[in-house]
C-alpha cells in the first residue's frame, strides 16, 4: 500500500492531493493566504481530513508552485512545469500539449507519451493572458470569477477589446459599463480577449494534439471555446479530476515515483 501527497501553493489558490495506491482519495483547493506555509498547512489538512488520514500516514510528499520553497512538510520540491505536465498526462494520457493558466502566469507545455516535458513556454511578465486578467475584469463587472465563463453563451454581440493590456482593458470595460453595455456582452469580450492572448503563447510552441487545459481558467467555458476557435483544435475536457488540481496531482505522482524508487 502506498500513500503519497502533492501540494501546489499558487499565488491565488493552494491545492493538495492525497493518493492511495495511485488513486485520489482526498483533495482540497483553498484561497492562498499571505504566508505560503499557512496555505500549504491548510490545503494539506483539508485534503487529509477528506481522505480520513493524517500527515503521519503520508509516506512521501512533493511540493510545487510558486510557494514551494516555504513548505515545511514536503520531502522534495519539483517545478510547476514538470508537475503540470505529469498531472496533465495522468488526467488524460493522450495529451501532448497542456495549457495551464494560473493566477499570475500562463504556460504551454509539450509532453511526450509519458508526461515528460519536451518543451515549454511561459508568460509571467504580463498580467494579460493570466488568471489575474480575468480576476481584475470580473471585479470591474462586479461578478464572481466563476460567473464570467457563462457570459460567452449568453452574449449576442460580444464587445471587442482593442488593447490586451489589463490596465487599458479595465478602463475600456468601465467605459462600456457606463455606456450601458450589458455585462454579458463585456464578459464575453473579456473571455475572447483572454483566449487570443493565450493563443499567441500556445501557437509559439507549436500545437500538437491532443490538447488539454489545466488550472482554474480551464473551468471557464467561454475562454475554452474561444481558444478552440482561435487555435483551430478541440481541447479535451478533463473529467478524471478537477483541472485546477493538475499541479498537485503531478506532485503526488512524483512522490509516488520517489517512493517506488526507494523500495527498489
Amino acid at each position: 500500500m502506498s500513500i503519497v501527497a502533492g501540494c501546489d501553493v499558487g499565488s491565488l489558490t493552494s491545492k493538495a492531493v492525497v493518493m492511495k495506491n495511485g488513486k485520489v482519495v482526498g483533495s482540497a483547493i483553498i484561497k492562498s493566504k499571505v504566508k505560503p506555509q499557512a496555505s500549504a498547512d491548510k490545503a494539506m489538512n483539508d485534503a487529509l481530513s477528506a481522505a480520513g488520514l493524517t500527515l503521519d500516514d503520508v509516506q512521501c510528499c512533493v511540493g510545487t508552485g510558486y510557494g514551494r520553497n516555504k513548505i515545511s512538510f514536503v520531502d522534495k520540491k519539483v517545478s510547476e512545469i514538470s508537475c503540470h505536465g505529469k498531472g496533465a498526462n495522468w488526467l488524460s494520457p493522450a495529451v501532448r500539449t497542456a495549457i495551464d493558466i494560473g493566477g499570475q502566469d500562463c504556460k504551454a507545455i509539450k509532453l511526450d507519451g509519458r508526461g515528460k516535458v519536451e518543451k515549454f513556454v511561459a508568460n509571467d511578465k504580463c498580467a494579460s493572458g493570466t488568471g489575474r486578467f480575468l480576476e481584475v475584469m470580473a471585479g470591474v463587472l462586479g461578478i464572481d470569477l466563476s460567473e464570467l465563463g457563462a457570459c460567452s453563451s449568453k452574449a449576442r454581440s460580444p464587445v471587442t477589446f482593442a488593447a490586451s493590456c489589463t490596465v487599458w482593458a479595465q478602463a475600456d470595460a468601465v467605459k462600456l459599463l457606463n455606456n450601458g453595455t450589458p455585462f454579458e456582452e463585456i464578459g464575453a469580450g473579456i473571455n475572447t480577449a483572454m483566449a487570443s492572448r493565450v493563443a499567441i503563447l500556445v501557437n509559439s510552441i507549436g500545437i500538437e494534439p491532443a490538447i488539454c487545459m489545466t488550472g482554474g481558467v480551464a473551468k471557464n467555458e467561454g475562454v475554452k471555446n474561444a481558444l478552440e476557435k482561435i487555435i483551430g483544435h478541440r481541447i479535451l475536457k478533463v473529467r478524471k479530476a478537477d483541472p485546477q488540481l493538475a499541479g498537485a496531482i503531478g506532485a503526488a505522482l512524483f512522490a509516488l515515483e520517489d517512493l517506488n524508487g526507494r523500495g527498489s
Binding site: K125, R132, V136, A163, V167
Partner: protein, 262 residues
C-alpha cells in the same frame, strides 16, 4: 495674426495661443469624457486669459488622442510632430524628445529644423506611461503630484522587479507589508519607469540635447532617474513641459497660416 494649438490628451487638455512667435496665453484642464467638450473648455479658458474670442483666431491646429473630435480646428497634426516641434522651438539644440503622457510614452528625434526624423512609442502596455504612476499613487495613497518630491527623499534602494503595472501594484503592497519606506518604493518605481523610457529611446538612438516633456516630466524623481539611465543631462524647457504638444500645434498653425497666405 493669432493662432491656436489644442492638445486633447487622455487625462488633460491643453491649449496655447500665439501671435508673432510669442505665447499669448496657455491653459490646461482635466479631460472630460467628451473630447469635444474638453477642447471647447480649455480653448475658452486660454482665450479668456488673453482677452480674445474665437473670431480673433486665424488658424487652429488640433492634436492629441481626441484631435479628430475637435470641431473648431482648421487641421489636425500628429502628437509626434507637435511634440518634436514644440521642444525644438523652445530650445533649438534639442535633437531628442522623450514625452511621457497619461497613457503613452514617445521618443522623437528631430533635425536642426525641428522636423521629425525618427520616432518610437508605446501605447500598448500601461507600464512606462503616466498611468503606471497613477495606479501606484492610488495603491500607496499618495497624491500623484507629490510622488516626485517623495522619490527624491529616498534613502534606501528598493528594486521593483515587475514591469507589468498589475503585478507591480501587488509587489508594492507586499513591500509596504515588509516595512519598506514609501519614499524608497516610489524611488524604485521612478527608476523602473525611467529604464523603460530609456530602452524605448535607445531603440531609435539618443542624440543630445534631450528634452523630457509631458505630464510625467514634472515628476522630479522620474526626471532624475531618466537622466541617469540615458547618461545625458535633460534640458529643461522654459515652458510647462505638459503644454509642449499644444505649443507645437500652435507653431504648426503659424506655419500653415504663412503657407496659405503666400
Amino acid at each position: 495674426m493669432i493662432v491656436a494649438g489644442c492638445d486633447i490628451g487622455s487625462l488633460t487638455a491643453k491649449a496655447v495661443l500665439m501671435q508673432n512667435e510669442e505665447i499669448l496665453s496657455t491653459a490646461m484642464i482635466r479631460s472630460t469624457p467628451r473630447p469635444q467638450e474638453s477642447a471647447r473648455r480649455v480653448m475658452n479658458s486660454a482665450m479668456e486669459a488673453a482677452g480674445l474670442s474665437m473670431d480673433d483666431i486665424s488658424y487652429a491646429v488640433g492634436t492629441g488622442y481626441g484631435k479628430s473630435q475637435i470641431s473648431f480646428v482648421d487641421s489636425v497634426e500628429s502628437e509626434i510632430a507637435c511634440h518634436g516641434r514644440g521642444a525644438w522651438w523652445n530650445v533649438p539644440s534639442i535633437r531628442t524628445v522623450i514625452d511621457i503622457g497619461g497613457q503613452d510614452a514617445k521618443v522623437i528625434r528631430v533635425d536642426e529644423h525641428g522636423n521629425v526624423t525618427r520616432y518610437s512609442y508605446n501605447d500598448k502596455c500601461a507600464a512606462g506611461t503616466g498611468r503606471f504612476l497613477e495606479v501606484i499613487a492610488e495603491a500607496l495613497d499618495v497624491e500623484l503630484e507629490k510622488m516626485g518630491e517623495l522619490s527624491l527623499k529616498s534613502t534606501e534602494k528598493v528594486n521593483i522587479s515587475n514591469q507589468c503595472v498589475v503585478f507591480a501594484e501587488t509587489e508594492v503592497v507586499s513591500l509596504i507589508n515588509e516595512g519598506k519606506e514609501v519614499a524608497d518604493i516610489i524611488n524604485g518605481l521612478s527608476r523602473a519607469m525611467a529604464n523603460r523610457a530609456a530602452s524605448l529611446a535607445k531603440g531609435i538612438g539618443v542624440e543630445p540635447d534631450v528634452a523630457f516633456t509631458g505630464g510625467v516630466a514634472k515628476n522630479g524623481g522620474v526626471a532624475r532617474a531618466l537622466g541617469q539611465a540615458l547618461g545625458h543631462p535633460l534640458i529643461e524647457l522654459n515652458i510647462d513641459p505638459q503644454i509642449n504638444g499644444a505649443l507645437g500645434a500652435a507653431l504648426i498653425a503659424q506655419e500653415k497660416l504663412k503657407q496659405s497666405s503666400i
